[in-house]
C-alpha cells in the first residue's frame, strides 16, 4: 500500500508538470496509430498528416503567421488509449482532435460540446454527424459511408443504380459497426433497383483468413463485388480474389485500401478499383513543398514509397482540412490565435473552391468542398481509381452521391441518436451562415 501511495504521489507530480505552451501558437494534436493490428494502415496516414502541417510550419511559419504545435499521440486504434490521449491533450487547449478510429470518435462525440473541442472524423465515424444542427461540434467531410455505397452502386450500374437490374452484387464487409452501417442501404437498393445482393461478412477475427467466404464467392459468382474492409482485411481480400481468379475489374472497394494492400498481390491485383475523393499521386505543388521542406531534409518519418500513396494522401487531405479550418477561423474571427470554438466556426464557413485549392497548391488534388452550419459533410462526389500494378489511375469522372436516398438515412440516424441519448443538447452554437 505504501508503494501504491508513492506511485500516486509520483503520478500527481507527473501530471502537474505538463509543459506550458507558448502563447502565440496553435496546438494541433494528431491521434495516430503506428502500432497495433492496424498500424500498417495507420503509419502512412500519420505521416501524411504530420508532413503537411510541418510543411506549413517550414514554408509559411504556420498559419496566418502563427506557428502550429503538432503533437502526436499514439492510440494503437484502441478506444481506451484514445480516451487517454484525449485527456492528456485537453489541458493544452487543442483547437480540434482527429480520433482516427470510429470507436474513439463515438466516445468523444458527447464530450465535444462540453469541452468545446471540435472533432474532425474525415469520412469515418458517425455518419449522422453530417447533420450540423444536431452535432454542431462534429465534422465528417467530405463523404459518408452511405454516400460511398450509393456512389459505388451508381458506378457499377453504369451511371445509375437502376442499371444493376437483374445483376448479382456481392458485398464483402468487415463485420463490425463500420461494415454493417452501409448494409441497410445495400439491402434497400437491392429491392428498389432489383439486383440480387449476396452478403459476405468477414468477422474481425477472420480478417486474414477469408478462404471460407471466398468459397462462397466462387459458388455464387457475383457479377460485381463491393468491399468495405479495413486493416489487414483489404490485403487478404485482394490476395484471395487473385487466388479465386475473380475478375479484378469487377471488384470495387470503399476508400480504405492502400498501395501496400494492392501491391502485396503483385501483378494479379491489376485492375482492382477503389473509390477516392482526392487525386492519386503526388504531382501537386503542395506535395512538392512537402518533399522539398520536410522529406528531403529528413524531418519526416515516411518510408520510401509512402509519399504520394493513397493513405499518405488521405493524411495530407485530413491535415489540409485542419489547416483550412484554422485559416478560415482566423478570417472569420479576425483573431490570430484561435480557439476550439473559433475553429468550429471555421469549419462551418469552410469553402474550398477551385481558386482556394489552387492558392494552397492543391489544384486538381481534390474536388471543391463547402460546409455549412447545417451540412457538416458536403456529401462530395468521388471518383474511381484503378490499380495498374504500381500506381493508382483515375479512371472515372466524378460520381455524385444519391443524396435523395442518403439524406433520409442520415436524418433518421441523427434523430434516433438524439432521442436515445436523453438530454442531448439542442443547438445553441453560433451560426455564421443561416
Amino acid at each position: 500500500m505504501k508503494a501504491l501511495k508513492w506511485a500516486l504521489a509520483a503520478a500527481t507530480a507527473l501530471v502537474c508538470v505538463a509543459p506550458a505552451l507558448a502563447e502565440d501558437s496553435i496546438y494541433v494534436p494528431l491521434f495516430t496509430y503506428r502500432t497495433g493490428p492496424f498500424g500498417g494502415s495507420g503509419t502512412p496516414i500519420a505521416d501524411g498528416m504530420h508532413d503537411y502541417l510541418n510543411m506549413l510550419n517550414e514554408r509559411d511559419g504556420g498559419i496566418g503567421g502563427v506557428k502550429l504545435v503538432v503533437d502526436e499521440c499514439e492510440t494503437g486504434y484502441d478506444t481506451k488509449k484514445g480516451l487517454e490521449c484525449y485527456d492528456s491533450v485537453k489541458p493544452k487547449n487543442p483547437v480540434l482532435v482527429n480520433p482516427w478510429s470510429t470507436g474513439i470518435t463515438l466516445a468523444l462525440i458527447p464530450k465535444a460540446s462540453v469541452d468545446k473541442i471540435p472533432i474532425l472524423s474525415m469520412a469515418y465515424g458517425l455518419s449522422a454527424a453530417a447533420r450540423g444542427d444536431v452535432f454542431p461540434w462534429i465534422f465528417n467531410p467530405p463523404v459518408t459511408y452511405w454516400d460511398g455505397a450509393s456512389e459505388i452502386l451508381t458506378y457499377l450500374g453504369g451511371g445509375s443504380i437502376d442499371g444493376l437490374k437483374g445483376k448479382k452484387v456481392g458485398y464483402l464487409y468487415f463485420d463490425a459497426a463500420f461494415g454493417r452501417e452501409a448494409l441497410p442501404f445495400f439491402q434497400a437498393e437491392a429491392k428498389t433497383a432489383g439486383f440480387d445482393l449476396k452478403l459476405y461478412p468477414v468477422a474481425p477475427a477472420d480478417m486474414q483468413n477469408q478462404s471460407a467466404k471466398w468459397l462462397d464467392v466462387r459458388r455464387d459468382r457475383p457479377d460485381f463485388l463491393v468491399m468495405y474492409g479495413w486493416g489487414a482485411m483489404n490485403a487478404a481480400a485482394i490476395k484471395e480474389a487473385v487466388k479465386a481468379n475473380f475478375p479484378m475489374d469487377k471488384f470495387v472497394s470503399v476508400w480504405w485500401p492502400g498501395d501496400a494492400d494492392a501491391s502485396a498481390s503483385g501483378e494479379g491485383a491489376k485492375g482492382f478499383k477503389e473509390l477516392n475523393w482526392h487525386g492519386p499521386g503526388a504531382d501537386y505543388p503542395a506535395f512538392a513543398d512537402i518533399k522539398k521542406l520536410v522529406i528531403d531534409p529528413g524531418k519526416s518519418q515516411a518510408q520510401a514509397g509512402e509519399f504520394g500513396s493513397t493513405l499518405y494522401d488521405h493524411g495530407v487531405y485530413n491535415s489540409m482540412l485542419i489547416a483550412e479550418a484554422i485559416a478560415q477561423a482566423q478570417k472569420t474571427t479576425a483573431k490570430k490565435v484561435v480557439t476550439g470554438e473559433d475553429v468550429r466556426r471555421g469549419f462551418e464557413n469552410l469553402n474550398l473552391d477551385p481558386a482556394r485549392l489552387k492558392a494552397i497548391g492543391l489544384e486538381g488534388f481534390a474536388s471543391p468542398l463547402k460546409l455549412t452550419c447545417a451540412d457538416h459533410n458536403s456529401h462530395s462526389a468521388t471518383f474511381v481509381q484503378e490499380w495498374d500494378g504500381a500506381h493508382w489511375k483515375k479512371i472515372s469522372a466524378a460520381i455524385p452521391s444519391a443524396l435523395d436516398k442518403v439524406q433520409p438515412l442520415i436524418d433518421a440516424a441523427a434523430k434516433s441518436y438524439a432521442e436515445k441519448n436523453a438530454g442531448w443538447p439542442t443547438r445553441s452554437e453560433l451560426c455564421d451562415n443561416k
Partner: protein, 358 residues
C-alpha cells in the same frame, strides 16, 4: 521498529481473528482511504483522476471478481471480458426501459444478469477443469462478443452498433455523461469499489471463502469433507461474474461513456488474467497491485521521456512502454512467482522483525 504488534493485546476472539490484526495496518488502511476519498478528489488533476484512477479502480474491481473465481476457487476463466460486457449491456438495456430509476441501482443490478450468465457458462466446471475449463469459458467469451455485435436489440438498433451513455444524476449532480465532473465519477466508482472489495474480503475470510479454497486445493478432498462441489463452484461463478459485471457497467457508464463490442474483446480477458497473476492469485489487495502495474505503470512510463526533456516519437514511446512493461512483468514473476501480493506479505513480515531479524 515501528511496524510490530508488541504491546497490542487481544482480549476477544473477534479481535484475534480480525482481517487486520495489527494496529499499524488499520491506521495505514484508514490513511489510504482518507487519501482516496478526500485528498485525491480535492487536489487530483482531471487527467490523473480520469485517465489513471477511474480505470485503475474499474480494472481492480474486475480483477477482484476474477480472483474470486481463479485465485480462490482455482477455476481458470478467459470469459471475463464477455461477462463485463453482459454487465454493461444489461445496465444499458435496463436504463433504456426504466430511465427513471437511478443509474447506480442499475449498475449494481446489472451484476445479477452477469451472475446468471456466469452460472450458465460455469455449469461445465463440475466435469472439467484446467485447460478444458479455459476452452469452455473461451466459448463464453466468443459467444458473448458475437451477441453484442449481432443482436441489434442489445444495442437498441443504433446505426453505429455501439451503446452510448446519456446524462444521469445522483442527488441532482450529474454522474454519467459528458457533464459529470471527473471527481464526481471517481467518488462514485471509489465508493462502489471500496464497498465491494470489503464484501469480497469478508466472503473470502469466511465459510464460503474457505469452501472455495478447499475446492481449489483438492476438489476430491473437499468433497470428502462434505463440500458439495456443484453449488460451491457455481457460487464462485455467480459471485465472480457479479463483480465482473458491475465492473463492466462501471467501465461503460463512468469511464468510456460509450462502447463498441470490440471493447469487450479477448484482450481485455487476458489483461484481467495478467492483472491477477502479477498481483497475486488469491488475494484482494493483489488485484489492486496488478491493476496498478498494468494500467498505471505504462501511463507513467509514457509520461517520463517528455518530463526529462527527451523528444521521442509517440509510436516509439508506445513500443518502449510495451517492452518495459513486459520486462517488468517478467522480472516481478522471477523474483516472486506468487505475485506482488506475496512480495508485499514478505516485506511486511521482514518489516515486523526489523532491525533485529533473529
Amino acid at each position: 521498529m515501528f511496524y510490530r504488534e508488541a504491546g497490542q493485546f487481544k482480549t476477544t476472539y473477534a479481535a484475534d481473528m480480525a482481517v487486520f490484526p495489527i494496529r499499524q495496518d488499520r491506521i495505514g488502511l484508514a490513511l489510504i482511504l482518507a487519501v482516496a476519498f478526500l485528498v485525491i478528489p480535492a487536489f487530483g488533476g482531471a487527467f490523473f483522476i480520469e485517465t489513471m484512477m477511474i480505470p485503475f479502480l474499474v480494472l481492480s474491481l474486475a480483477a477482484i471478481g476474477l480472483n474470486l473465481l481463479t485465485g480462490y476457487t482455482g477455476l481458470l476463466s478467459l470469459g471475463s471480458a464477455g461477462f463485463m460486457g453482459v454487465g454493461a449491456y444489461a445496465c444499458y438495456k435496463l436504463d433504456t426501459y426504466f430511465p427513471q430509476v437511478n443509474i447506480l441501482v442499475w449498475i449494481v443490478v446489472s451484476g445479477l444478469f452477469s451472475s446468471a450468465v456466469g452460472v450458465l457458462f460455469g455449469l461445465p466446471s463440475l466435469r472439467i477443469k484446467g485447460f478444458y475449463l479455459v476452452v469452455a469459458t473461451l466459448a463464453a467469451q466468443f459467444f458473448l462478443e458475437w451477441a453484442f455485435a449481432r443482436v441489434p436489440w442489445l444495442y437498441n438498433d443504433n446505426a453505429s452498433g455501439a451503446i452510448e451513455v446519456g446524462t444521469h444524476t445522483l442527488f441532482g449532480v450529474p454522474v454519467t455523461g459528458p457533464n459529470a465532473l471527473p471527481s464526481t465519477r471517481y467518488l462514485v466508482v471509489l465508493s462502489l469499489v471500496t464497498m465491494l472489495a470489503w464484501i469480497a474480503s469478508n466472503i473470502t475470510h469466511g465459510r464460503i471463502g474457505r469452501m472455495w479454497m478447499a475446492v481449489r486445493d483438492m476438489d476430491i478432498a473437499a468433497e470428502l469433507i462434505g463440500i458439495r462441489l456443484l453449488p460451491a463452484k457455481l457460487l464462485a461463478f455467480a459471485v465472480s461474474s457479479f463483480y465482473i459485471g458491475v465492473a463492466g457497467a462501471l467501465m461503460v457508464f463512468l469511464w468510456f461513456g460509450s462502447a463498441e463490442p470490440e471493447a469487450f474483446d479477448i484482450n481485455l480477458s487476458f489483461q484481467l488474467l495478467f492483472i491477477i497473476i502479477i498481483g497475486g492469485l488469491g488475494s484482494i489487495v493483489g488485484a489492486f497491485f496488478g491493476a496498478a502495474v498494468l494500467h498505471l505503470l505504462p501511463i507513467m512510463l509514457r509520461a517520463a521521456p517528455p518530463l526529462i526533456g527527451l523528444r521521442v516519437q509517440a509510436a516509439t514511446v508506445e513500443q518502449l512502454t510495451d517492452m518495459l512493461t513486459g520486462v517488468l512483468i517478467l522480472a516481478v514473476l522471477i523474483v516472486e512467482p506468487h505475485g506482488l501480493a506475496a512480495l508485499w506479505k514478505t516485506a511486511k513480515q521482514k518489516l515486523r522483525v526489523w532491525p533485529f531479524p533473529y
